[in-house]
């Protein structure tokens, strides 16, 4: 169940500057757990607390904001793309 995770510039210091990395997980929460194992420190940057995304972090599963799906419990199909994108934009 490998998926592609797009990493924003703000987090690339943790991924050796990689803009895309592979990760595994049945749900978005599992995916973040898997990312944390490969890139220690990344979970703290994404989560405000257990089970809660930081307010200014948006996660998109194949272009859809996971807040419109089931949040961190959203199931992630194999081959999907998950993009981590700063929420502060626009207006």
């Amino acid at each position: 169940m490998s998926v592609t995770v797009k990493i924003p510039t703000q987090l690339r210091s943790l991924t050796s500057e990689a803009a895309e990395v592979p990760a595994r997980g049945a749900t978005v929460a599992d995916l973040i757990g898997d990312l944390e194992e490969s890139y220690p420190g990344i979970a703290e940057r994404l989560l405000a607390g257990p089970g809660e995304l930081r307010r200014f972090v948006n996660l998109y599963l194949d272009g859809e904001d996971v807040r419109f799906l089931s949040g961190l419990g959203t199931e992630v199909p194999a081959g999907a793309t998950v993009a981590i994108i700063p929420a502060v934009a626009g207006g």
Binding site: R45, P86, A89, G91
Partner: protein, 425 residues
């Protein structure tokens, strides 16, 4: 000081630059004066930070009065990076009394701050003038944005007048007038078959990897500050005092937040004698009202929605500054009105009929919001109120339906007279 990510263009520090650094609103980490808008640690928004004591020592009402008739008369309180201003006349728009609207609503005194008079006919010229001035100082060659329409107009026009290339991104469903009033300037217009929030997401991804000046992404700390000039002008035009209340349309929440900040700053640097006490009120159309819903529910977090509103310039379902707008409204004793979709055009017509001002759908929302806030008692009859009319009606003609003449007649004077008799009697 945290090092900005690779690929960020940095300004050379220079004399006369009045923005000291950028600071994260959430975790207070600081960054150098550079083209970035997101805290590298917590993803919070970066804001321009000033040395107010230094500004207070030099700024004066007289110096402002002698300055240009544009937003740049307030340069002391704008994040100028250096390298020349992009000024095609944004700002210093009319603040006019609206006695007939006031009478209709039972209010003592209402003022209209009418930004339809800006170069591209909306308040977005203010923010773009600041953003592209910074863009030039940072050495960018391409100006870009995610837009609900008015911003696209402003970016394309200011870029053209400055010799920058422009690439603007819009939802494909935008009003034809807004598309025409962008493409005429000769830049690149990218229509995305999706919502503004989709456009925003795509631009946020592109902005990370391109050396383009995305005015409301990597230049957002500079851009957003331009909205403060609405507060500055209102205070100066009232004779250096503040009104009891303002009514501001809400899309991302940035405009409302910065208007509130603007009033406070005037007092901080000594331009206002007293601490301002302005009730900051907002309005959203029902089809896209995530901030109004959070206000009504007493929540601080804004739950994103999928917009379905006639007020396309306010159709931001995931408003970046929503939480801060809520803080400003609650902290000032204001409120946020939800305007039913059917009342947006009513607001446009009410303003046109009473004051001879033709505003766009966002202005219709604002006028209808004012009406509701008065009816609900949030704004009382004695409150001197300023209504922000942020754009012109000619860009959103669709909202008024098919234009039908009152009378259609054969080319016969007799028939015209007969029909006039029927209509006017």
């Amino acid at each position: 000081m945290t090092t900005p990510p690779a690929g960020t263009l940095l300004a050379e520090p220079q004399a006369g630059v009045n923005v000291d650094h950028l600071v994260c609103r959430e975790c207070a980490r600081t960054y150098g004066v550079s083209a970035q808008h997101v805290c590298g640690f917590c993803f919070g928004p970066l804001e321009a930070a000033y040395d107010y004591e230094r500004i207070a020592a030099t700024v004066s009402r007289e110096e402002i009065a002698a300055g240009p008739e544009s937003i740049w008369r307030y340069a002391a309180l704008l994040p100028e990076v250096g390298g020349g201003r992009v000024d095609i006349g944004a700002g210093w728009t009319q603040l006019r009394e609206a006695p007939r609207l006031a009478a209709e609503l039972g209010l003592r005194k209402v003022w209209l701050k009418s930004d339809a008079a800006n170069p591209t006919h909306s308040f977005k010229d203010r923010v773009v003038s600041v953003a592209l001035s910074a863009a030039r100082a940072f050495g960018f060659e391409v100006a870009a944005c995610a837009s609900t329409g008015n911003l696209a107009n402003a970016v394309a026009a200011h870029a053209a007048a400055t010799g920058l290339r422009s690439v603007v991104f819009i939802p494909a469903s935008l009003e034809p007038a807004k598309i025409a009033a962008t493409s005429v300037y000769g830049g690149t217009v990218v229509a995305i078959d999706g919502s503004y929030d989709d456009v925003n997401r795509i631009c946020a991804e592109l902005a990370g990897d391109r050396d383009w000046a995305f005015v409301n992404m990597n230049l957002r700390p500079y851009y957003a500050e331009g909205s403060k000039t609405l507060a500055f002008e209102i205070a100066e035009q009232l004779g250096w005092r503040t009104p009891d209340a303002v009514v501001v349309p809400i899309a991302s929440g940035s405009l409302l937040t910065k208007v509130a900040k603007g009033f406070r700053e005037l007092h901080k640097v000594g331009l206002l004698d007293e601490q301002p006490s302005v009730a900051i009120n907002g309005g959203q159309a029902e089809g896209c009202s995530p901030v109004a819903a959070a206000f009504a529910a007493g929540e601080r977090d804004v739950r994103p929605v999928k917009p379905a509103t006639i007020a396309k310039s306010l159709a931001i379902g995931n408003p970046a500054d929503g939480p801060y707008a809520l803080d400003e409204v609650r902290g000032s004793g204001g409120a946020i009105a939800t305007v039913p979709e059917s009342e947006v055009a009513d607001g446009i017509r009410l303003l046109a009929r009473t004051e001879g001002v033709f505003t766009e759908t966002a202005g219709g929302v604002t006028v209808s919001a004012l009406e509701r806030l008065v009816r609900e008692g949030t704004i009382s009859p004695d409150d001197e109120t300023v209504v922000l009319i942020t754009g012109i009606g000619l860009k959103t003609l669709d909202a008024l339906g098919d234009p039908a003449p009152t009378i259609t007649s054969a080319p016969s004077t007799d028939q015209v007279e007969q029909l006039l008799e029927e209509v006017l009697s």
